[in-house]
């Protein structure tokens, strides 16, 4: 966030327009290009969600998001996220600790494996669990004999969601922890603090903003995932339909306004996430900048 460029530029010798800045024309052109690009690809789709959601009026909107199947979908989505996100927080912190604080062979490979789910097609993420736990899958007969349901039930949804969001927390934490080094922890240990105390009093506070950002992203993805859960859900309304799947169902029932009404909840969540992040950056900007500079 450097806005120091302007006065410097103004003070520079007159022959060229400026040392660091571009001419006003170029500047305006670049801003305009950026805004147009954002408008076309980000803002219009977002606006469309809210416009369509409100197209049938407030009563219809309220009805769409309080209808039993919609409520069930909202509950299920929250439940899946409430299990998947904490799991990934624990694993993400463990992974970051191992990777950032220690030197060992095969580290690049480990990081790449942690990153892998990020570039695996969501469809594949769902498919692998069907191959493992589906009735025709490798563990299918055994699971059936013991009456354990994984795919087309809550465990399958959670597994697929954990898979898809696996890298988010670790990916935010690793570079940050790497740049912080190990000096603080070592000092605390030398002074006689217990390992857990060091972790909770030294390490965690140091990376809290990266952690927080990672959790926000992880949660947003967990709640919004479509492709992976579509494969393992079975799409039973009121039972295994998450919000994104419920949106697709409504859309397919010619209830566009209702579909976008539920979608607007998720879009609203996205906006709150972003607002929260922006607020934190504004409120604790210096602290975050200091701790995140890596």
């Amino acid at each position: 966030m450097s806005d120091a460029a302007l006065p410097l530029a103004a003070a520079a010798p007159a022959r060229r327009s400026s040392a660091r800045g571009e001419s006003l024309g170029v500047r305006i052109a670049l801003i305009a290009v950026s805004l147009l690009f954002l408008l076309l690809f980000l803002l219009l789709p977002l606006a469309a969600v809210f416009v369509e959601a409100g197209s049938k009026g407030w009563e219809a909107y309220r009805a769409a998001i309080t209808e039993p199947d919609a409520l069930a979908a909202i509950r299920l989505t929250l439940l899946v996220a409430a299990i998947a996100v904490p799991f990934n927080i624990v694993v993400g912190i463990a992974a970051a600790w191992a990777v950032a604080k220690f030197e060992f062979r095969g580290k690049n490979l480990l990081i790449s494996l942690i990153d892998l789910p990020f570039s695996v097609s969501p469809v594949i993420s769902g498919l692998v669990f069907v191959l493992l736990f589906g009735a025709q899958g490798y563990f299918g007969p055994w699971l059936q004999a013991h009456d354990i349901k994984i795919v087309f039930a809550l465990p399958g949804l959670i597994l697929a969601t954990v898979f898809v969001t696996f890298p988010f927390v670790a990916r935010e934490l690793i570079p940050h922890m790497q740049s912080l080094g190990t000096a603080d922890e070592e000092a605390a240990l030398t002074l006689g603090a217990s390992p857990w105390r060091v972790f909770f009093r030294v390490t965690l506070p140091n990376v809290k903003w990266s952690l927080f950002y990672g959790v926000l992203l992880c949660n947003a993805r967990a709640m919004g995932e479509f492709g992976a859960v579509a494969v393992v859900s079975g799409k039973i309304r009121g039972l295994t339909n998450t919000m994104p799947l419920h949106i697709e169902i409504l859309y397919n029932e010619y209830m566009g306004a209702a579909a976008f009404a539920v979608a607007s909840l998720l879009a609203g969540l996205a906006l709150i996430t972003l607002a929260l992040k922006t607020f934190l950056e504004w409120r604790f900007g210096d602290e975050i900048a200091a701790s995140r500079r890596h």
Binding site: M1, S2, D3, S17, A19, G21, R27, S34, F37, F41, L42, L44, L46, A48, F87, A94, A95, W97, A98, K101, E103, F104, N108, L110, S112, L113, D115, S119, V120, S121, P122, V123, F129, L131, L132, G137, Y138, V162, F166, P175, Q178, T182, E185, P195, F199, A220, G224, G227, V231, M243, A263, L269, A270, T273, L274, K277, T278, W282, R292, R293
Partner: protein
Amino acid sequence: MAAATPLRWREPSILPGFGMALGITLTALSLIVLIPLAALFIKAASAGPADIWAVATSPRTLAALKLSFLGALFAALVNAVFGLILAWVLVRYEFPGRRLIDAAVDLPFALPTAVAGISLAAIYAPNGIVGSLFAPFDIQIAYTPLGVMVALIFIGLPFVVRTVQPVLEELQSDVEEAAALLGASRARTIFKVVLPPVLPALLTGFVLAFARAVGEYGSVIFIAGNVPMVSEIAPLLIVIRLEQFDYAGAAVVATMMLIIAFALILSVNLIQAHARRRFGDV
């Protein structure tokens, strides 16, 4: 700043918890990622070499992979160019609404892909707000490969901006000023002084956007025409094979995508490791 501290990765550490941390990581990684993916490989292998070859080289598979990879490549290129401009504008210029724009960049991370797809289809269809602007010129966006690009650009944008932005922020201004004082034109300064240190980050963002776009499904199927050989993406082909009860065929296509994806991710991490050695922390 911390970039210059050469303190990292010293001798065998006195820090505790390595065993536990690595244990948790490897257990979770195995259970959630590796074993399931191994199942995929086994399934693909069960098809037998002849069938694998037939599926892998069928024109339809190749066309779908080509669309997924070329589409993702093109979208990532567009994102690299506009993402760089956007990051530049956000870092260097002060204008009303900058903070808002900055926040909006993360939108594709947070907006569910299916919602994005439906909404993009509505806007870019011939009777949509943007689509109708192009319709008179007989250019159709939604339901063509162009529509696929639009969706892929949408989901990939934040990767480029968010990897380039911090590097631009930390760029020291004195080098630029020195270049300018020594008589370099602004354009020359940009290309010779500003861009080189940004390049690794830009490349990383590009590959991340690319990797994410290759596998994207939710946002694309609503806006692609899904016409075989023309606008059918590889993940859709997996779904189609699955719906024909052809598990092995689906696994073969999935495995092909997976191998390429892993190669991409590994290369990003190598780029980053290389850049860290060369330019300090990025």
